[in-house]
């Protein structure tokens, strides 16, 4: 093991600089994307690891005092060792340059989910799962900061762990609390270790480094700053937007500054393109290519997984309605894209365009086309989706498929009725609406 280097952290006097991250979820797959080529597959698979590696590099570059990880480093349910070893390797990098690391484990990687054979490098401290543990930086003698944290001992913890955290004592230096928890509403995440803002502010700490919520959010700016750093790499279209960690500077008076630093290797983008006014597919392809160029220009060299939803009524719809039309366009705009820096991987084109005819006027027709519009409206108005659900149950209630299929909501059924209506209009009505 290399001997840790003698170093002088960028923190000065009573000021402390550190990095706060959480929810690395190393090795968890990207979901919701369509087919991808093998060369992209490797990049996508490595993305969560690369994001963590980038955070470690940032810590070394910024010469911070320590790194705080607030849980969910990897998903221990998978019982995969690679993620754990990767963490050890990266922490070794920190250790080699004398940067400490303080870690609490979360619901996805509780203490009992880690291998006993992982030998943590020098300078890495894993917080206890029994009670909140107080650790001083850099040492018990030379106290510049107190870090208080508690790991999840097991996966499910529904108790309020924040209540267990001790009040900041008079003689404590700058105090940082670290916890994997659901502070406030939770925004759809599992309500593990729920706590209130009051529980956190009541401790008198200077900074709360929280984990569990994947969207970076500053719950409180100061006194104390309470921050979810979010996950450093988005993993599906529900995790669009910048992802990274917080570079925090705390001064002796408890005032602090926290800067969000983007570390994700791949961004997720969900775009909508209206075909209204487009004369032909060349115009559409140009619009998509322009959008791709915009994404690439603003990507800062990061890769992007992108999804385009085509909407609106227009002449192009007729072309899109043909068999394999969207696949052909997708192929055209994907052509030549390779996994180089700043790549834009178009996941799919979702055709939600509608026939160019005026729906209201078509609905007045006294032929089957008008009938279809009326039937479509009737199905919606009556809200009677039982007929539809009955026929769809052949597949959606089939035991073989059910576990893989998303349940169809009423909104889904409504959207499907509209798409079915468009499909029939495409079959029956010519390009000119006659």
């Amino acid at each position: 093991m290399p001997v840790p280097q003698e170093r002088t952290p960028s923190s000065s006097g009573t000021e402390i600089r550190f990095i706060h991250t959480a929810d690395l979820h190393l090795g968890t797959p990207f979901t919701g994307i369509s087919k991808f080529s093998p060369e992209f597959g490797k990049i996508l698979a490595d993305a969560t690891y690369q994001a963590f590696e980038e955070i470690v590099s940032l810590a070394i570059r910024e010469n911070v005092s320590f790194l705080i990880i607030s849980g969910d480093i990897y998903d221990s349910e998978e019982h995969r060792i690679y993620g754990q070893l990767f963490v050890r390797k990266q922490l070794q990098r920190l250790s080699d340059v004398g940067i400490r690391a303080y870690i609490v484990f979360g619901n996805h990687d509780p203490l009992n989910g880690w291998s006993n054979h992982i030998r943590w490098p020098e300078g890495v401290h894993i917080m206890s799962g029994k009670t909140p543990e107080v650790v001083y930086f850099p040492s018990d003698v030379d106290r510049r900061a107190a870090i208080v944290g508690m790991s999840f001992a097991r996966k499910v913890i529904s108790e309020n762990l924040a209540e267990l955290f001790p009040q900041k004592k008079q003689d404590w230096p700058l105090t940082i609390g670290m916890l994997h928890c659901t502070a406030g509403a939770g925004n759809g995440h599992e309500p593990y270790a729920p706590c209130s803002m009051q529980d956190l502010t009541g401790t008198g700490y200077d900074y709360w480094a929280l984990g569990h919520i994947h969207t970076p959010v500053v719950l409180r700016e100061n006194n104390p700053a309470i921050i979810y750093s979010g996950n450093p790499q988005g993993r599906d279209f529900g995790e669009c937007g910048p992802r990274g960690c917080y570079l925090v500077t705390l001064s002796g008076s408890g005032k602090g500054d926290h800067e969000f630093v983007e570390t994700c290797q791949i961004r997720w983008e969900d775009h909508e393109i209206s075909i209204v006014g487009m004369e032909d597919t060349d115009t559409l392809i140009t619009a998509i290519e322009d959008a791709i160029a915009d994404i690439r220009e603003n990507s800062a060299g990061k890769g992007t997984i992108c999804r385009f939803t085509l909407t609106g009524r227009g002449a192009v719809h007729t072309v899109l309605a043909r068999d394999n039309a969207t696949e052909d366009i997708l192929e055209a705009v994907r052509e030549g894209e390779c996994p180089s820096p700043g790549f834009v991987l178009i996941d799919r084109l979702i055709d939600r365009t509608e026939h160019p005819v005026d729906r209201e006027s078509v609905a007045c027709r006294t032929d089957i086309v008008g009938d279809i519009i009326q039937i479509s409206d009737l199905l919606m108005q009556e809200g009677d989706s039982n007929i539809i659900r009955g026929e769809l149950s052949e597949l959606y209630n089939n035991a073989r498929f059910k576990r893989y299929l998303n349940e169809l909501t009423d909104d889904d059924i409504e959207a499907l009725v509209r798409e079915a209506e468009t499909y029939l209009l495409d079959q029956f009505v010519g390009d000119d609406g006659e």
């Binding site: 369509s34 698979a45 490595d46 039937i375 029956f428």
Partner: protein, 1041 residues
């Protein structure tokens, strides 16, 4: 769509047949049986929808009268566009649809025929009695599809086809019980990936287990390696001793031999070799000495046999000189004929050149002739002077001729212009002419004024007379009044009218008549009364003539004044009295011409005076030129006299011109050159002759001195002298060579003697160096020394290896002691026990290391690769695809539900529209006997309902009524189809034959009604049917085949 015209290239009996007078509404084609009506119907069907395969049976209507099978039909679409549909049976030509400009509209019939296809058209629009009799033709799927689409308002694609397409798409995604569609296929891929994932997941436990195993392996391996290393050390030591055992034996043996040997104090290292070498060198020197003596004797003998003639050595220099000169002599001797020839040529050339200058010239004349550059320059000067004078004379003569010519020309012009002077102009002056012109201008202005004044006067006089007469008439009219009797007459008539009305019991009419006449009477009498009271009223001035008289007087005075002026001007213009305006105009023309003649005369006179001035100038110039020419002639004569004198001095012919003397200079130069050449050749020839004579004398002297007889020519003599000299020189060189060799052999022989003596002394020294007195004693010492050396070498080598084996010099002595105490067999037995154990340990270590490698590799793989992520991502992507595909399937299933509902609605609500239409036609054709046509839901049977409400199946109707029903149904379909698609032409082939006259009449009226929207072409062989149709639609066109 409507058919405009038809052209048949070849089809059945028709060849090159055209029909152009086709109505957009109703056209009746009347023809007897076999006149081609059915053929024409078939032609229309086939050009529109294609020819049937000839492999099928039936009538193919091969062209019986020539032409290519096919033709064209001109049509106009509902959107009023004209197209030509051209189709031939031959596949290479196929179908062509083009607009009236000939631009192709592709080959899709939809351009003109909308969504109709062949089956639909032939069963609904273009049929004969055969199709009409059968309802089955209407229930054909293809027909029903088109009908349904038409009725449903859809034309892009028939509804049932959409249903089929939808079913196909749905099944492409998912169909219960099958695995091929997309959704189950994706599920299978997911299952495959999950299967793979299950084999590599949960690596943490494996990692822990492997880590523990790795630690155990490393501990066991360490223990075995330690044991093995100890055994290997023992084995190695034993093998080391066994390995050097032979050296140990050698060491002991050589120690013993060295102890027993009697070795001399010293012996040279290579004593034996030195002795043998000295012996050999002495032998070789003695052999060389014998050879030298033999060769010395041979050289002496050969030298004594050579004799030398010294005379040739005395003459050696002279002979070498002659040898060198010989080449020069040969060249001189050979060049003489050539010099002679050149000399002859030069002499001849010189003589000819002299002759060409002047026959009298000799070489002396040539040498005395001055051909220097100053002389040549002088001649050129003469030539230039004479040429300049000649040129100047020519210029002056030319100028003189031009002046003389100009004088002559000017004189001719004066004479000609004098002849052009107008006659009788001598008395006319400019002033007089100008005065007449001014007077005439004034007169011309005065005459019209005079005329006008006279006219004014006349008009005034007439006006005065008219006014007087008018006054008189007005005065007479002022006395006339209206009579009153007509008024009274009208009043009487009114009263009479009233009386007649009363008598005839028409009092009202009588009263009206009386009232009208009464009012007329009152109006008239009133007018008459007013007229009688009115008196005439004329203005004062109209009756007074004093104004006009005053004007007349003014005019008369103006006329008199104008006439006086006119008389004066007329006199100036030489008129007798006042001329008329015309006469004045004529005079104006005369004066104009006189002015022109006068101006012409003045121009000619001026020109003649100008020319006479020119002639005078020219004559002065001519006189001046004559003087200059005389001066030039005198100059020329002076220069020529000088030239004659020069020629005489040069001895040349006096008639020569300077230019010809220039050639003489050239010739004399060439002659002089030839003379110099001739002189040089003569000198050269004399030199050559002298040199050859001297060489001959020298050769003769040398021959005599050497005692050699002459060979007859200088060349041969010089050769003989040279050969003799070379022979003597060779002999002298051989004699010198022998002498040198004898000397050298003497020196070498002496050296060899010295060498043999020295070597013998060296041999004696060698024997003494080993303390030997004899050769035999020396050889014995040599053998003893050799054995000693060999033993020492072997002992040293053995000792070295033993020290190496001992490994450490400090323990060498102990090692030797160990060797003395050890037995070879004992060691070999010990090794035989250790070696297998070491192999066993090695095998155990190998097994442990292999396991260690695989465990470490697996652990390393776990640390460096996580293939599960990719697999999970694949599964996630496939799950996404599965959801997408399932969603697409759901969309299509919902579309199917909606379409099904749409069809149900069509069948319930829309389809009856066709039957309503058919019902209307059927009711009309049957004269109201049947009032409804019904198709029960879910049934393909047709019922009709009569006036009494009785429903009768179509199958039970009479043949004629059934045909009328089916015709009405078709009319219903045609009408309904036209509501949603192209109005296609209806072509009927004698379909009314089974109808009674009344229903036929009504059917004709229904057809006439149909033809309002759809074009109808009706084929029949019955003139009365044709007539009925014409009655129902008077604008129908009749075409007789």
């Amino acid at each position: 769509m409507k058919i405009r015209d038809i052209h048949i290239d070849g089809f059945g009996i028709f060849h090159n047949r055209s029909l152009s007078d086709i109505s957009p509404h109703l056209t009746i084609i009347l023809g007897d049986n076999e006149s081609g009506k059915s053929t024409l119907l078939a032609f229309i069907r086939r050009v529109l929808f294609g020819f049937p395969s000839k492999r099928k049976g039936g009538n193919h209507y091969e062209p019986l009268n020539g032409g290519e099978q096919g033709g064209r039909i001109g049509v106009t679409t509902d959107s009023n566009r004209d197209y030509e549909i051209i189709r031939y049976e031959k596949k290479s030509k196929g179908l062509l649809i083009q607009d009236k400009e000939g631009v192709s509209a592709g080959n899709a019939l939809t351009v003109v025929a909308g969504g109709a296809d062949q089956a639909f058209f032939e069963n609904v629009f273009a049929f004969g009695l055969g199709e009409l009799e059968s309802f089955d033709t209407l229930s054909d799927d293809a027909v029903q599809n088109r009908l349904m689409s038409a009725g449903a308002g859809v034309t892009k694609i028939p509804v049932p086809e959409v249903q089929k397409l939808l079913d196909k798409h749905i099944e492409g995604y998912y169909k219960k019980g099958t695995r091929k569609p997309r959704v189950p296929d994706i599920l299978k891929q997911i299952s495959d990936n999950e299967g793979t994932l299950s084999t590599i997941s949960e690596t943490q436990d494996e990692y822990d287990s492997l880590s523990t195993e790795l630690e155990e392996i490393e501990a066991n391996t360490g223990r075995l390696i330690t044991e093995k290393q100890g055994m290997e050390r023992t084995l190695h030591r034993n093998e080391n001793i066994i390995h050097i055992w032979d050296e140990w034996v050698t060491f002991e043996e050589t120690e013993e031999i060295l102890t027993s040997l009697d070795v001399p104090e010293s012996f040279p290292d290579d004593g034996i070799q030195q002795l043998h070498m000295i012996d050999a060198e002495i032998g070789h020197a003695e052999d060389r000495q014998r050879e030298l003596v033999r060769r010395l004797e041979e050289e002496v003998s050969e030298a004594e046999n050579i004799t030398i003639d010294d005379r040739l050595f005395y003459e050696q220099d002279r002979i070498r000189a002659l040898e060198k000169k010989l080449t020069l002599w040969e060249a001189d001797h050979a060049s003489l004929p050539e010099i002679n020839a050149d000399l002859t040529v030069s002499e001849k050339a010189c003589t000819e050149l002299l002759k060409s200058i002047d026959p009298r010239w000799t070489t002396e004349t040539l040498l005395s002739f001055d051909a220097s550059l100053p002389a040549q320059h002088k001649v050129l000067q003469y030539q230039k002077q004479l040429e300049d004078i000649s040129k100047q004379k020519a210029v002056l003569s030319t100028e003189l001729n031009q002046y003389e010519s100009l004088v002559s020309s000017e004189k001719d012009a004066i004479e000609r212009r004098s002849g052009e002077l107008p006659d009788g102009m001598s008395a006319l002056s400019e002033d007089k002419l100008q005065a007449q012109e001014h007077a005439l201008v004034e007169l011309t202005e005065a005459l019209p004024a005079l005329e006008q004044k006279k006219k004014d006067l006349s008009s005034l006089q007439e006006e005065a007379a008219k006014r007087t007469e008018a006054f008189r008439e007005q005065a007479a009219l002022s006395k006339v009044t209206l009579p009153t009797w007509p008024g009274y007459l009208m009043a009487g008539a009114a009263i009479v009218g009233l009386g007649i009305g009363y008598v005839t019991d028409a009092l009202l009419l009588g009263a009206i008549f009386c009232a009208v006449l009464g009012i007329s009477t009152l109006v008239y009498l009133k007018a008459a009364s007013v007229a009688s009271q009115k008196s005439p009223d004329f203005p004062e001035e109209e009756t007074n003539g004093a104004g006009i008289s005053h004007l007349i007087e003014e005019r008369r005075e103006e006329i008199t004044s104008l006439e006086t002026t006119a008389h004066r001007l007329a006199e100036m213009c030489e008129f007798q009295g006042i001329p008329s305006v015309q006469a004045a105009s004529r005079k104006s023309i005369e004066l104009l011409e006189l002015r022109k003649a006068f101006e012409r005369k003045m121009a000619i006179t001026g020109e003649i005076a100008h020319r006479q001035q020119i002639i005078s100038g020219l004559e002065n110039k001519i006189s001046e030129l004559h003087g200059k020419i005389g001066t030039e002639k005198a100059e020329e004569e002076s220069v020529y006299a000088e030239w004659q004198e020069w020629l005489n001095g040069a001895g040349l012919d006096l008639s020569l011109s300077p230019s010809s003397v220039e050639k003489i200079f050239t010739l004399s130069e060439r002659a002089s050159e030839k003379y110099r050449e001739m002189h040089a050749l003569t000198t050269k020839k004399e030199g050559k002759i002298r040199a050859t004579d001297e060489f001959n004398d020298e050769v003769t002297a040398a021959i005599h001195a050497c005692g050699i007889s002459s060979r007859g020519s200088p060349e041969a003599d010089v050769s003989a002298l040279t050969d003799a000299l070379e022979e003597q020189l060779a002999k002298r060189r051989a004699q010198e060579s022998h002498r040198k060799e004898i000397g050298r052999l003497h020196r070498e022989s002496g050296q060899e003697d010295e060498l043999i003596a020295a070597k013998r002394e060296g041999r004696r020294d060698l024997l003494r160096s080993s303390h030997a007195d004899t050769r035999e004693e020396f050889l014995k010492h040599a053998e003893t020394t050799k054995i000693h050396k060999e033993c020492m070498r072997r002992r040293t080598e053995a000792e070295h290896r033993l020290k190496v084996a001992a490994d450490n010099p400090a323990v060498y002595d102990a090692f030797l002691e160990e060797l003395r105490q050890t037995g070879l067999h004992e060691l070999e037995d010990m090794n035989a026990t250790i070696s297998p154990r070491i192999i066993e340990i090695e095998n155990e270590i190998n097994i442990l290391q292999q396991r260690h490698g695989s465990v470490a590799q697996r652990l390393n793989g776990m640390e460096n690769e996580d293939e599960a992520v990719l697999l999970r991502m694949n599964i996630a992507a496939l799950t996404g695809d599965l959801n997408d595909a399932s969603r697409e399937w759901a969309k299509l299933v919902i579309a199917r539900i909606m379409l099904r509902k749409g069809i149900e609605k069509y069948e319930k609500e829309r389809q009856p529209a066709v039957f309503k239409e058919a019902e209307r036609y059927f009711q009309s054709v049957t004269g109201g006997r049947y009032i409804r046509v019904i198709q029960p839901i879910g049934s393909d049977k047709i019922l009709v309902e009569d006036q009494k409400g009785m429903r009768i199946p179509a199958a039970l109707l009479s043949r004629g009524t059934a045909e009328q029903l089916y015709l009405s149904l078709r009319f219903g379909y045609i009408t309904e189809y036209g509501n949603h698609d192209e109005h296609l032409p209806a072509v009927f082939d004698d379909i009314l034959v089974n109808f009674d006259p009344e229903r036929r009449q009504r059917s004709c009226e229904a057809i006439a009604e149909l033809s309002n929207k759809n074009q109808v072409i009706f084929f029949t062989c019955h003139p009365d049917t044709a007539q009925m149709l014409q009655s129902a639609r008077p604008d129908a066109r009749l075409i007789e085949l």
